[in-house]
């Protein structure tokens, strides 16, 4: 265990060195006047703005939660549609044949071009941001789920059929669990896309949110504040990404060794309590 820790420390150390050099170079360039300070503010100015946003006048939190709420709700709704359509398409070929072209068209049509219409339909509030988030994040989930569901391993399928499993049993006991890893891969792409959708909607029409904050700051010529807002967007993206990663780790436990052991121990314990003392008896004894 010790050496893994030291490896982490080492790589962290390397990252810090590179980071320090970049910061020093950037500060130097700004001080020397190589860089137009108003356009590309030096790191200490950005740090100052971050301090203002997060600690001093704490403006960021309201916008942060609003954009988080918009992106996550968009992801959930987009995800629900994506899953539903993918399940429908995997169960019935003609449904898939007539749905997939429209899904592709929706995916290739840039979300930005749809913004006016979405805002017209869903109004000025959060719902239009959620809607745009849902539209842009629908496709990755739909495609991944559809392919994952239809790529079930032939032999296992035959084994299920040999046991007389119904289409529903095959679906829930085999297709869905086997598809989970790829579905979550789709979720990971979709969550960041949903954030982009929400921010795009905020840029064109919103009263609050990180996108609006960034616009407001850059219009007040506070470029370091605008960059601080941009970094907050990345932070928000990271948080959303990690949420999905954590859920992924818990749901698809059979991918990681230590998770698998934990689950098997728990199931063993559950088996012992429920099955009384009969565990471990050889079958053939009777």
């Amino acid at each position: 265990m010790m050496d893994r820790l030291s490896v982490h420390l080492q790589s962290l150390f390397k990252h810090l060195i590179v980071f320090a050099c970049v910061i020093a170079l950037w500060e130097g360039a700004a001080a020397v006047g190589l860089v137009d300070v108003i356009l590309l503010p030096p790191p200490h100015a950005i740090a100052g703005s971050i301090w203002d946003l997060y600690v001093e006048n704490r403006t960021i939190y309201r916008h942060f939660t609003i954009t988080f709420y918009e992106a996550f709700a968009g992801f959930l709704i987009g995800g629900a549609f994506g899953l539903a359509l993918a399940v429908g398409s995997s169960l019935n070929d003609s449904f898939r044949r007539y749905v997939s072209p429209y899904a592709i068209v929706l995916n290739v049509t840039p979300g930005l071009a749809l913004t006016p219409i979405v805002i017209a339909w869903f109004g000025f509030g959060y719902s239009s941001k959620i809607a745009l988030g849902a539209i842009v994040c629908f496709f990755p989930i739909f495609v991944n789920t559809l392919i994952a569901l239809s790529r079930t391993d032939g032999d296992t399928l035959e084994m299920f059929q040999s046991m007389g499993a119904s289409k529903g049993q095959v679906f829930w006991k085999l297709r869905v669990p086997a598809a989970l890893p790829m579905i979550f891969a789709g979720f990971k792409i979709a969550i960041t896309t949903a954030l982009v959708g929400a921010v795009v909607a905020e840029f064109s029409q919103a009263t609050a949110g990180i996108g609006v904050l960034m616009q407001r700051l850059s219009f007040a010529l506070d470029m370091s504040g605008a960059i601080a807002a941009l970094l907050s967007m990345s932070l928000l993206g990271l948080i959303l990404f990690t949420i999905i990663e954590i859920i992924d780790d818990r749901v698809v436990f059979w991918r990681r060794g230590s998770r698998m052991e934990a689950v098997s121990r728990r199931r063993l314990a559950r088996w012992k309590t429920s099955a009384g003392s009969s565990s471990g008896k050889p079958i053939g004894r009777k």
Binding site: D93, V105, V108, G111, F139, N144, V199, G211
Partner: protein, 287 residues
């Protein structure tokens, strides 16, 4: 990470003509529903022009006025150049990173952070750096198209079957041989999925660049038309983008099926026969 294999469906029992007929039927039903709801004022004319007026718009923009062609050419020029540059960079970098574990472990956190950042927010900064016009538009498209190929290629190279890598080592294969004969071909499905993803976002990227700062392109036309409440023509531009995107997407799917022939049941026999013939022409001995 994710694989967009093609969405085509196994050969249908019904004839192809029959399928097209059904597609058309559904399409016409949708359009007429739209037309009727417009006529009955269910849809707000400000936002939803009559399909018939969109049709007129197509005729006007493409034929009578013909002003859409130059804008379309410009946008597609930026999309294609940006897409090519972005994906070549993405795939190239992924190959270098994939070949050295140390580099991959080092770059991993930055990739995740950059991927989580909504890249369109970086658009204005690029405009400030590259200025107006053609370069910054292509730069934004390139930035948007970089990620999917990079991540997919990297995943494709990493998830190669360990035993095959060991078999190559046991034959004393050099790094380049292992790469060209094993890593690259087995990563191809992932790479082509990444390219398709990139193309879908390339159109969006070009539009963002044109909305933010450009004096020509479909994005500019769309802002001009929506600005003057001429939604019919705006829809013509948007639908042009969607149609182009759709056909390019389908085209890339076909190319994917052609290159990755070993995943396709009937393609595999054809290729086998071709190579048998080539073998005989070379060695000329009996089959």
């Amino acid at each position: 990470m994710n694989e967009i294999a093609d969405l085509t469906i196994p050969a249908p029992k019904r004839s192809a003509l029959n399928i097209i007929a059904r597609h058309l039927a559904i399409f016409l039903a949708l359009i007429s529903a739209w037309e009727i709801s417009c006529r009955l004022e269910w849809l707000d004319p400000l936002f939803f022009p009559y399909p018939s007026s969109i049709l007129e718009g197509f005729w006007r923009l493409y034929i009578t006025q013909g002003n859409i062609w130059s804008h379309l050419g410009l946008t597609m020029f930026a999309v294609i150049v940006g897409f090519t540059a972005g994906s070549v960079l993405g795939v190239g970098l992924a190959i270098c990173v994939g070949m050295s574990d140390r580099l991959r472990r080092y770059l991993k956190p930055y990739v995740i952070v950059l991927e989580a950042t909504p890249r369109i927010a970086i658009g204005p900064v690029i405009i400030a750096a590259f200025g107006f016009g053609w370069t910054s538009k292509t730069a934004i498209v390139m930035l948007v198209c970089f990620f999917a190929p990079f991540v997919n290629t990297l995943n494709g190279m990493i998830s190669v079957d360990r035993d095959k890598v060991e078999m190559f080592r046991s034959m004393g294969a050099s790094r380049i041989q292992t790469f060209s004969k094993l890593l690259l071909p087995s990563a191809l499905p992932e790479i082509s999925a990444g390219l398709r993803l990139a193309m879908a976002s390339a159109l969006g990227g070009a539009l963002v660049a044109e909305f933010i700062a450009s004096n020509a392109g479909l994005g500019v036309l769309i802002t001009q038309y929506t600005g003057t409440l001429n939604m019919a023509s705006a829809f013509v531009c948007v639908l042009t983008l969607s149609a182009l995107g759709y056909f390019i997407f389908r085209g890339m799917e076909a190319v994917d099926r052609f290159i990755i022939f070993w995943a396709d049941r009937d393609r595999i026999e054809a290729v086998g026969r071709k190579r048998l013939a080539a073998w005989h022409s070379r060695l000329g001995d009996r089959p």
